[in-house]
Each structure stands twice: as C-alpha cells, then as structure tokens.
C-alpha cells in the first residue's frame, strides 16, 4: 500500500512541479500577486508530496517489504536497521528520489523565506522546471516503487561497502550541495530574464550559494574520510571519475562564492558570476550524468541502463543548453559602471577565479578525455592520479601564493607591497617551516615541504591579517576580542575558511606524501614498528556480525616500551553479496594516524598486515570542517538577516523547511 501511495504522491508532485515551472509561461504578470501566490503554494505542495513519496519509500525499506523491487535489490532482512534506512538512498532509484526531495526542500525553503518578488517568483518557477524534469526521470526510468511478483523471501542485501555510517550520511550532504546549486542556477536564469543582476541579486543568491558550498564541502570530506578508513588502502583521494564528479562543482562553486562578493560589493563581474552559477549547477548535472549513465565505467564495472543516460543527457541539454542560450541572448545586456584598480580585493578575487576555473577545467578534461578519445579514435586510454597531480597541483600552489595577500587587500584599491609587508610574520613562519620540512624530508621530494610552506603562508597570513584588524598587538585582549566579534561575518567566515584550507593542505601533504608504510606477515606476538610506535599482534578472533562474519585482529600499541592502547582492525565477509570489506584500525592523533589493516592468512607465515603512519591525516577532516564552518559564518552576513518574512499561512511550509538550509 505504501508503495502505491508513494507512487501516487510522486505523480502528483510531477504535475505540481509542471505547473510551478510553466505558470509564468501561461501568461499573466509576474508582479501580480495571484501568480506569485500560486507558484509559492505549488512549490510548497510539491515539497510536501515529494516528502510523502520519500517517507513511503523509507517505510517499505524499514519494514523490509520484499514485494518492492527496490527493497529486494538493496536490502536483506538481517541488515541492521540504520542501514535499512540509509539503504533508501544507497541505490540509484532511491538516491534520485532523495535528489528530488532536496530540490523540493530548497524550493520550499526559498518560498517561505524573504518577501515575494518578481525575482523570487521566477526563481521558484525555474526550480519547478528542474524539479519536473527530475521527477519525470524518476517516474519513467528509475521508479523506486515498482513491485516484484512474486515477492521473494529475502533480499539481495545492500553493497556492504555502503553499510557504514560515513557512507550512510555522505550522499545526503553531497546532494544538499549539488542540488543547492540549483537555486543559484535558478537565480542566475531569473536574473538573466529580468536583466537585473545587481547587489540585491547577489545578496539574495549568496546565502544559498554558501549553503550549497558548505554542504558540498562536508559531503566531499565525508566521502574522502570514508574511502580512507573503509577501503583499507591508506589513501583518501584517488581522482576517480566519481570523486571528480563531486569535485568539479565544488571548484566552480568556490569560484562562485568569491565572485558573488564582487557583485555584491561593486556590481562588477556580473556576466562572469552568472556564468559561474550556470556552470556550478551544470557540473552537478554532468556529475550525475557521469555516474548514472555509465559512459565512463570500466569494462567490468556496473550495469547501467542506457535510457537513463539518454534521459539525463536530455535534462542536461535542456538545463545547461537552455540557460547558456539565454545567457548568449541576455548577458550582453547586463551592464556595469563599476570601476576598480587591478590591485584590489576585486582583482584578487578575479585571480582566484582564474586559478579555480583553470583547475576545474583541468579536472574536467582529465576526467572526460578517455571518452573523447574513445569517441574520436576508438582507442582506450586511462587518465589517472599521476596526470591530475601533475596538472592540478601547480595551479593550487600558485593560488596559495596569492591567497593571503589577496584576501588582505583593500576593496577597490589596494596596496600590494604594504599588504605583504603587514603579513611578514606569516611569511617568516612559512619560510622557516618550509625549510625545516624540506630538511626533514631530504633527500625525498621537497614538493611537500613547498606545499606545507605555502599552507603556512596562506593560513598564517589569514591569522595575521585578522590579528591586525582587531588590533591584537596594540590593544588590550578584551577590546580586541570585542572587535573580533564585531567583524563583518563575511570577513570572519572567509578567514576561518582560508585557515581551514591551509589545514587541509597540511593534512594532504602529510597523509599523501610523508606517509610511511610497512607490509609484512605477522604471527600472534609479532611486533610491527612504524611512526615511532610498536604494534604487537595480540590475537585474531573470528566473530559473527548481524549479516557478516569478521576476522578481528587486536593489536596492543606501545611507544618506547610503554603500553598505550589497543587497536583493532577487521576484515568482514558479507555472504549474501559474497563481498569482503576492511575496517581499518586507526588511532587518530594530531601528529598523525596509526593505521592498521588485516589481510589474508598464510598458513606458514601468519597474517598479512599492512601498517601506515599517515602524518597529520586528521588535519584534512578538521580543515574541511573549518572551511564548512567559515562558509556557514559567511552565510549569516548582515543584510539578509534583517529581511525575514513573517510566518506564513501554509501548513506545508513547516514540514518542508529544512533546518539550516535557509541560513
């Protein structure tokens, strides 16, 4: 029954979204309140309907209703309850429904926030067009509510790699990010239609862009963290097409949240910012296309339904093609009379955009190049991590050179020498740490030392600039603190986020370059020494989990003879899928992670054990958290907070408004 209710709700949501998208085309004045009200109501109703559909799917997963194909294919009666819930989006159909739900929630959040305006009405309408396309995609190619006759006794279980807390919450954050850019996209299209891309437009868009960016940052970090501890290879980023699919919109979105500041402050870079908004969402769609259509999957990878690829490509053509056509027609009319000097915050932000867009284009070309070559010549090549590291990292390094002084420059007209002069403590620290790091890693590659030095320059520069601004060196701590609290949120957020980036880079250098590794056989009682620690294999026990069996190795970790703690690592076997997963044993410390994984047992030699010491690994996740925090702080920047609208009459609004999304 629940499946049928969900199906019906989805169909009604489709019709509502169609109305929401088409209403302005039916005629009537944008500025008339009946049209505005009806689009607003449609947005909320659509959100409510999708929520019902999503809850229905959650319900059939929760009760393991094996008469629903989606449950059969992705669940099992013995699966832990939490993963029955996360299994809702641990598959293609359910994850697309989550996509649509988040899209609707963003629309609803916009509908209940702010005053009604032509811009908002148009934005909601564009949002409706996107929603109708995606709901149609679900209904016609990826129906999660299809029944199976006859219902099997049990299901095929969820891919065990997905049965993990990190990956359970990774997709919702990722989609909150991807889909959040639908709003900035819709605003861009609406701005092109109205021809008004000004400071008010930027103020309306910026919180949404920042929210999307914050969620995407968290989503990518969660995915990377998951890969780090679950795949057992000690790495955190593989430049896999699926990873790149999330990274490209992040790079474009990062450029966007910067350039939006220029529109807000100076009403310049309008055309470029609109293009970035289109780009960020288009890249989210391209990512979806990439992952769901199978154009880039390797020979023996997943099965994909080609009709899905065709459908997503059609959506991409309509959304991106349509908006770029509109861009070609309308963008030339966007005029700016603002002026500024090249050496200024505006100029620095443009430089930031040059780096980020180049990096984004590089990742894009690297990701799709094998496809282009296949289409053009029929030969197959691979583009892997060595290419991306060689082509992407130099631009990031260059960007870091400019980051601290660029962020400290004054708006409109800055003074470069004076600014760099002010930041001398950061420069000195960066130089010192860079030299020390190079000396420590000698004769190894010094690129990582360079990276660490640049990170200190960028992060230290952000701190020094903050301290100077609050006069920390020349006034009592209390006064400085009050000044810090009164700093514009945009500045405070930027400083936190830049510091976060620096921290991430230290972590990437540590875990990516300075890591040490030992692979060897161990019998019970053997000791492996790495990173200054001695890990003794105490015992290996076999244990049964709910839907798996595990071999668990218990290590006791010592340092200089002093027992510190136990560390366990597991190898799990999931019989339903016939798959094996690793649960790495990780001891996270500020200076690095001790990371142990267990392999096969050889009768003669004992257990194969792979041990890593990954210096500063945890800094990556802390840094990513700081970046997200910074984005969140910046999103609460002043003007918007003053324009809250009174509570609305619609009861659906209360259900549909997501927490946090309206910040």
């Amino acid at each position: 029954m629940a499946a049928e209710i969900g199906q019906l709700a989805l169909i009604l949501a489709f019709l509502t979204a169609l109305f929401q998208g088409a209403a302005p085309l039916l005629g009537g004045q944008f500025s008339t309140s009946p049209l505005q009200a009806s689009i607003r109501v449609a947005t909320l109703v659509q959100g409510g309907l999708i929520l019902i559909a999503f809850l229905c799917l959650t319900y059939v997963h929760a009760i393991s209703d094996f008469s629903v194909v989606n449950v059969v294919e992705n669940s099992h009666s013995a699966k832990p309850f939490a993963y029955k819930l996360s299994g809702v989006w641990g598959n293609h159909e359910g994850s697309m429904l989550l996509w649509a739900l988040i899209l609707a929630l963003y629309g609803a959040a916009l509908a209940v926030s702010d005053r009604a305006s032509t811009l908002k009405t148009l934005t909601l309408s564009v949002q409706g067009m996107i929603a109708s396309a995606f709901i149609a995609f679900i209904l016609f190619t990826s129906n999660p509510f299809a029944r199976s006759f006859p219902a099997p006794a049990d299901g095929m279980d969820l891919n065990p790699l997905l049965q993990d807390p990190g990956l359970a919450i990774h997709p919702p954050f990722l989609y909150l990010g991807y889909v959040g850019f639908s709003l900035t996209f819709a605003y861009a299209v609406a701005g092109l239609i109205t021809g008004k891309v000004d400071a008010a437009w930027a103020r309306a868009v910026r919180p949404w862009a920042l929210a999307a960016w914050v969620f995407l940052t968290i989503g990518i970090a969660l995915g990377s963290w998951w890969a780090y501890y679950e795949l057992g290879w000690g790495g955190f980023w593989a430049w896999d097409p699926v990873e790149n699919a999330s990274f490209m919109p992040w790079l474009a979105g990062t450029a966007l949240i910067h350039s939006l500041r220029v529109v807000e402050k100076r009403e310049a870079l309008k055309v470029w910012t609109v293009l970035l908004a289109i780009l960020a969402f288009s890249l989210s769609l391209v990512g979806t296309f990439l992952v769901r259509s199978g154009v880039l999957t390797s020979v023996h990878a997943f099965a994909v339904d080609p009709t899905r690829g065709v459908f997503i490509l059609a959506i991409l053509a309509a959304v991106t093609g349509g908006s770029l056509l509109l861009f070609a027609l309308r963008a030339p009319l966007l005029q700016s009379h603002a002026t500024f000097q090249p050496v200024s915050r505006e100029g620095a932000i443009l430089l930031n955009n040059v780096f980020l867009v180049t990096a984004c284009a590089t990742v894009f070309i690297g990701t799709f190049y094998p496809l282009f070559i296949d289409v053009l010549t029929g030969t197959r090549i691979s583009v892997g991590a060595p290419y991306f590291n060689a082509s992407f990292l130099p631009f990031m390094a260059l960007m870091l050179v400019f980051l601290a002084p660029g962020a400290a420059l004054a708006w409109k007209k800055g003074r470069l020498k004076a600014t760099i002069g002010r930041l001398w403590p950061a420069l000195a620290a960066a130089g010192a740490i860079g030299v020390i790091a190079a000396w420590l890693s000698w004769p190894g590659p010094i690129a990582a030392a360079l990276g660490a030095g640049l990170a200190i320059w960028a992060g230290g520069g952000a701190i020094v600039d903050l301290l100077i601004r609050i006069k920390a060196f020349s006034s009592p701590p209390g006064a400085a603190f009050i000044r810090a609290a009164n700093l514009p949120r945009a500045y405070l957020g930027m400083t936190i986020a830049h510091l976060g980036l620096a921290v991430v880079i230290i972590g990437v250098m540590g875990a990516g370059v300075w890591r040490t590794e030992i692979v060897r056989f161990m019998a019970e009682g053997d000791v492996i020494s790495i990173g200054g620690f001695d890990a003794r294999l105490e015992r290996v026990i076999v244990e049964a989990g709910p839907n798996y069996t595990a071999e668990r190795a218990v290590f006791s970790v010592e340092r200089e003879g002093a027992a510190l703690r136990d560390l366990t690592t597991e190898r799990r076997f999931y019989p339903v899928r016939g798959m094996q997963t690793t649960e790495a044993g990780i001891w996270t410390m500020a200076r690095g992670d001790l990371y142990l994984t267990l392999g096969e047992k050889s009768e003669a030699a004992g257990w194969a054990v792979r041990a890593f010491f990954n210096p500063f690994a945890v800094w990556m996740w802390i840094g990513a958290g700081l970046m997200a925090l910074g984005g969140g702080v910046a999103a609460t920047d002043a003007p918007r907070r003053l324009m809250r609208r009174a509570p609305t009459i619609d009861p659906g609004a209360a259900i549909a408004a997501p927490q946090g999304a309206s910040t």
């Binding site: 154009v295 023996h300 994909v304 289409v375 197959r380």
Partner: protein
C-alpha cells in the same frame, strides 16, 4: 564581435553534448586489443589436470580459430558455455580454451559436467599467459586468422546474437582469406 563571445559557452556545450551523446552509444565493454593484427603471443601451456593434451601457440597453425579464456570460478562463463558448445558442434569452428587461474581439477570437472567445446585446452594457473593476451576478465574470446594473427577480441560472454552479428561474419571472412591465400 562582443556578442560572439557570449555564444562561446553555448558552442562549447553543444560540442560537449555531442560527445556525451556519442559516448552513450559506445559499448563500454568494447576494449580494443593491443594485439590486433599482431602474431599470437608465444605460450606452451600444460594440460589441465585430468586431460592429456595441452595447448601451445603452434597448435593452431594455418587455422582460423577461437581462443576462449574461461574458468570454473567464472559465472558468466556458465552463461556463455552452451553458446560455445553450439558453435563448436554446428559451425565446425576450432575453439581452443585457456583455463585461467583455476584450481587443479576444477576445470576438468566443470567441463565434464557441461560438455567440452574445446579442441585444445591449456592450463594457465599463474595467469601469465592471460597477461600476454591482455586479458581484463573472463570470459574473453580472441579470433585468430590462418596466419596465426589476432584479428578480434571480444570481452564478455558471447551470446547467440553477438555470435551471429559480429563473430560469425568475421570467422567466415577470415576463412575465405585463408582459402584465397596461396
């Protein structure tokens, strides 16, 4: 002039869209072999346990043949197996098999159970010959011409449709080439 600049993103996107569209029509399992038109790799494989005759490069001299990589562990091979039986019986095509990374005796009992379409069977427990062929999975099938050159590689289980559409015409063409040659 300035307006043209605004068309650039759209133009780039159209080009991209065409690539994506063509990309969708590509068969992702299409993996051109690096060995096409090159001579067969040199190998001399022992018989699988329970059989007496092995399989070496020289066994196929002058004959258009199929070389099929299989393994008793490979589930797709079970699906492909009846098709190979049919091809061997009805079309009179020489099929040689290479048992890839199997446990001793497993290949033999697998064939005893299902029938043996292979004229020669070589055992490749180390997988070294498979690497020489550039194998990416099982099953995979190569078509060899009368000069002992690799002419085609198919990755994945051969279905009757694929046999009729792609492989059979090529085998017939190669046989004709062989007959025409002095």
């Amino acid at each position: 002039m300035k307006r043209i600049l605004f068309l650039v993103p759209l133009a780039l996107f159209v080009v991209l869209g065409i690539y994506f569209a063509v990309g969708l029509t590509r068969d992702p399992s299409h993996m051109p072999s690096a060995l096409i038109d090159k001579p067969l790799p040199e190998f001399d494989l022992a018989a699988i346990e329970g059989e007496t005759r092995g399989f070496a490069t020289s066994d196929l001299d002058g004959e258009v043949a199929l070389i099929n990589f299989f393994g008793s562990w490979c589930i797709s091979c079970i699906i492909e197996h009846p098709v190979l039986m049919d091809i061997a019986a009805r079309e009179g095509v020489v099929i040689a098999g290479i048992d890839w990374k199997d446990k001793p005796g497993a290949g033999k009992s697998w064939l005893d159970q299902r029938g043996n379409p292979y004229v020669f069977i070589g055992d490749d427990p180390s997988g070294r010959t498979a690497i020489d062929f550039g194998i990416t999975g099982a099953p995979e099938t190569f078509i060899i011409d009368h000069k002992g050159r690799v002419r085609y590689r198919y990755a994945g289980p051969i279905t009757p449709q694929i046999w009729q559409r792609d492989l059979k015409p090529l085998v017939e063409k190669l046989r004709k080439e062989g007959d025409d040659a002095p």
